[in-house]
Amino acid sequence: MTGFATLLRKEFLEQWRTLRLPVIGAVFFLIGLGSPLLARFTPELVKSLGGGQIQIVIPPPTTPDAVDQLIKNVSQFGILVAVLLAMGSVATEKERGTAALILTKPAGRGAFLVSKLVAIAGTLLIATVLAAAAAWFYTVVLFEALPVAGFAASAVLQWLGLVVFAAITFLGSTLTRSALAAAGIGVVALIVVGILSAFPSVAPYLPVGLGAPARALALGQPAGDIAGPLLANVGLIAAALGLSWLSFRRQEL
């Protein structure tokens, strides 16, 4: 892992300087703010769209609606962001020749890869925390107070699910020299996960399976045994990173 700290610093500087971190952070913050708002005012919006011509019966909004809205929005937008962040991380550096610049210096290939994935995960973590903080605040204002610890734990589970998609796309970025091909691998992973989630015995161990315990934790309810799903998702990330390294360590640049 020679050079890891230096390369991680460079990766975060790049995330900041290329505006990825501030833009993604700001968008997630707005998603966090908007989710409870959407949950709170959707019934009124729908009623107003009806124009009084038709009778629409909508149950009054509740705190779980706000949490559901947040988890859905973070999941949908977050997966897209995770794929976008990871798709060019290695492939573009190989294509542009900057990977060769770094790897002719005293930097290990493992450090090169890990620093990139950690920086992507860090950006996603900051964004998810911002979304969670904003959502918690507006949920408290519009609905009721929720446990901070539970909300934070929920955010960590949502983040972990996003990092799995980032890691799989990252593997694609390492295997190919094309960011688009890497994105394709990320999208295929998303489809495969969608298919596998139809199997009840497998679904809890997939990134999407983290949604249910994340919801429970945010609402201050028991999340059940989440050790297995946690380990499975961490294992997926580790496997993607390991395969990336196995491929990258022998690649010509």
Binding site: T6, L101, L103, P106, E252
Partner: protein, 343 residues
């Protein structure tokens, strides 16, 4: 192809900075490097020459860990490069023929990144970065984003990052390709300044630069080593004796008659006339030296200058690599730049 040994250079007293043995690289059916055996002595300024596709860049890419050899071995400071050890790269500086950088980064930040990877910290790092920027003429551009740099400025930055940590081995792949005359002069001065304190390997298509700075050269052709050794010995061993005569202006008829008489001489191997200069290649330099001036006098030609031409590396290159290599040399004596994808 036979490797031509020349000179009586003593064996290096210490282990070579670079050693390759049977180094081979294939791209499918194409052999880019064919069992290359090479020793680069420590402290030498070593020129790596050859026409396009000779295997120079492939050799350098293997030495720097960017490519893997198909067979054979390459060692830098006694360590096999296949081990891919960062410690080896800590002792090495490398400038790519087309250096690429992060466009969002400032020049100073790039050098700080490279310096940190090399283990420099604090005041030592800041001092080296500032000195390197000044030394390469980028003192005023350090706070600018690299994306705004010209090609020449990127080349200078490439040089700055290669020498920042004062490596004991510096590998430069066509380092003057994007430099203006001033930048080229500065770079050559910088390389000359490293003589004795570092080993420098230079792959370049500017033969005049090789003659000026290198003390040893290797010529590759189609992936194989044609010759290797001290430059002076190479010139002495391979250059054909030549004489240059410059007649005073306004003697066209007399000069033409002189050319005809020179072409009839026993020792004559070739006579070329270009830009008012008569260039005579001879088989027996001693005989020619005795007889040329009497021929000039008897032809009634007044000369502005007469000298035994110093054989050039270009002559040697053409002799060793063959007539096909003539197409690789432009009118300035430069090997033509490689095409994209050339290895």
């Amino acid at each position: 192809m036979t490797v031509v040994a020349f000179g009586a250079a003593p064996a290096p007293a210490t282990e070579p900075a670079i050693t390759t043995r049977g180094l081979t690289k294939r791209f499918g059916s194409v052999i880019a490097l064919d069992a290359l055996d090479l020793d680069v002595p420590k402290g030498s300024i070593f020129g790596l020459l050859g026409p396009n596709g000779a295997g120079k860049t492939t050799t350098i890419r293997i030495l720097t860990g960017l490519a893997r050899a198909t067979a054979g071995s390459a060692q830098v400071a006694g360590v096999d490069v296949a081990d891919d050890r960062p410690e080896v790269r800590r002792r090495m500086g490398y400038l790519d023929q087309d250096p690429r950088f992060y466009g969002w980064m400032k020049g100073r930040e790039l050098l700080e990144l490279v310096g940190r990877l090399a283990g420099l910290r604090g005041e030592a790092l800041r001092g080296r970065v500032a000195a390197s920027l000044r030394r390469t003429g980028l003192g005023d551009a350090g706070e600018r984003r690299i994306g705004t740099y010209s090609g020449g400025m990127r080349q200078r930055l490439g040089i700055a990052q290669a020498v920042l940590h004062e490596p004991e081995l510096l590998i430069l792949d066509e380092p003057v390709s994007s430099l203006d005359p001033e930048g080229r002069r500065d770079l050559l001065a910088l390389i000359e300044g490293l003589r004795g304190s570092a080993t420098v390997v230079v792959s370049t298509h500017v033969l005049a630069d090789v003659e000026r700075i290198c003390d040893r050269v290797a010529i590759l052709d189609r992936g194989r080593l044609v010759t290797e050794g001290p430059l002076a010995d190479l010139l002495a061993a391979h250059a054909r004796p030549m004489f240059e005569l410059v007649p005073a202006p306004g003697q066209d008829a007399a000069a033409a008659a002189l050319v005809e008489r020179l072409r009839g001489a026993e020792w004559e191997k070739g006579v070329d006339v270009a830009a008012g200069t008569i260039r005579v290649t001879v088989t027996d330099a001693a005989a020619a030296a005795r007889e040329i001036l009497p021929l000039v006098v008897s032809s009634g030609v007044v000369l502005v200058s007469f000298e035994q031409a110093r054989p050039t590396l270009e002559d040697v290159f053409l002799e060793l690599v063959g007539p096909a290599a003539a197409d690789e040399i432009d009118g300035r004596g430069f090997l033509r730049p490689r095409e994209a994808g050339d290895r």
